[in-house]
Symmetry: C2
Subunit: 204 residues, 2 copies
């Protein structure tokens, strides 16, 4: 339990932007960040723990949660439903942790519509040429798959201006430092500190 | 000459908030910040250099600059006029430096009205009690003067919510770190990075 309410942080970025590396570097810098646990209708895989890896739900339970507006965002992906349960996120925020939602652009737009107080960050590759180089560099994907990923990335990057911040990942540690600075700065925003001033006024 | 346009940063805070210590600590962290040089009708003191310490102006010159809307803000103080010349600030911003205006709340309001793109930071003492302790700790001021300073500080702190950010100075290095983070975060704001995305689009 920390002192103040945490920040809800939405981070998006195309495949190949290096999101997981940057997030890992950010987690080494700050111990006040938690990931949200998603709900899914996908059956648990061996070793997956309910409430830790996912909240495992039946189709009926998931549909009821949608009806009850219990998700910050939800989507269907290759036949399974995935969603971010608002209540679990709120619990972590109330405990004073910043909650990181690593989410694609459509889901991010849903979250930002429901939670205009969320901090949104788009993690961008230095250029499309560099993104292509990185995707090819993996050496695992067929040409067709790479072309598809690049097309998706292009569409996602076109929505980067919908985010409050754009962090360009030309160096993972530098990008993590910028994310770290964004969190520190957001915590200094005056609308979050009004209580301080009011208390200050009273203390005179 | 640096790559991008710099940020205009307005910082205010009551006497005793520790502004000069925090700013000095910030300048040790970043070499991309410059102070603005004020214009004044006050005569130069021995050793003061025109264009470095101040732009020294006659009353007539100063009045003409006001008429030409050449100041971001100006005020009269114990019989002399002081002002921040917009052109000199703009030159530094265009060279890519962030320009710090250390300015009281009325002047800050003038600047923010003219330059809504400016980043505004209020440096606050941890509490009024602590501010009083600091002002008394100097041991140099008469009781009456301290009471006056506290009254002014109270009025200034009541306007802290007009600033985008509030940095609480309970520790000068921590406060400087927060200012540093605010600058880093502001540089990541998507409205400043649109050109990147547009170039990204074109580069495909």
């Amino acid at each position: 339990m920390r002192g103040e309410r945490g920040l809800l942080i939405v981070i998006s970025g195309p495949s190949g932007a290096g999101k997981s590396t940057v997030i890992a570097a950010l987690m080494r810098r700050r111990d006040d960040i938690r990931f949200s646990v998603s709900a899914t209708t996908r059956p648990p895989r061996p070793g997956e723990v309910d409430g830790k890896d996912y909240f495992f739900k039946t189709r009926e339970q998931f549909a009821r949660m949608i009806a009850e507006d219990a998700f910050l965002e939800h989507a269907e992906y290759v036949g399974n439903c995935y969603g971010t349960p608002a209540e679990a996120v709120q619990r972590q925020l109330d405990e004073g942790y910043h909650v990181l939602l690593d989410i694609e652009v459509q889901g991010a737009a849903q979250v930002l519509a429901k939670r205009p107080d969320a901090v949104s960050v788009f993690l961008a590759p230095p250029s499309m040429a560099e993104l292509e180089r990185r995707l090819r560099g993996r050496g695992t994907d067929a040409e067709e798959k790479i072309a598809g990923r690049l097309e998706t990335a292009r569409a996602e990057c076109a929505r980067a201006r919908d985010y409050t911040y754009i962090v360009v990942n030309d160096d993972a540690e530098k990008a993590a430092g910028e994310l770290d600075a964004i969190i520190t700065a957001q915590l200094c925003r005056s609308e979050l500190r009004n209580h301080f001033i009011l208390e200050g006024d009273r203390s005179i």
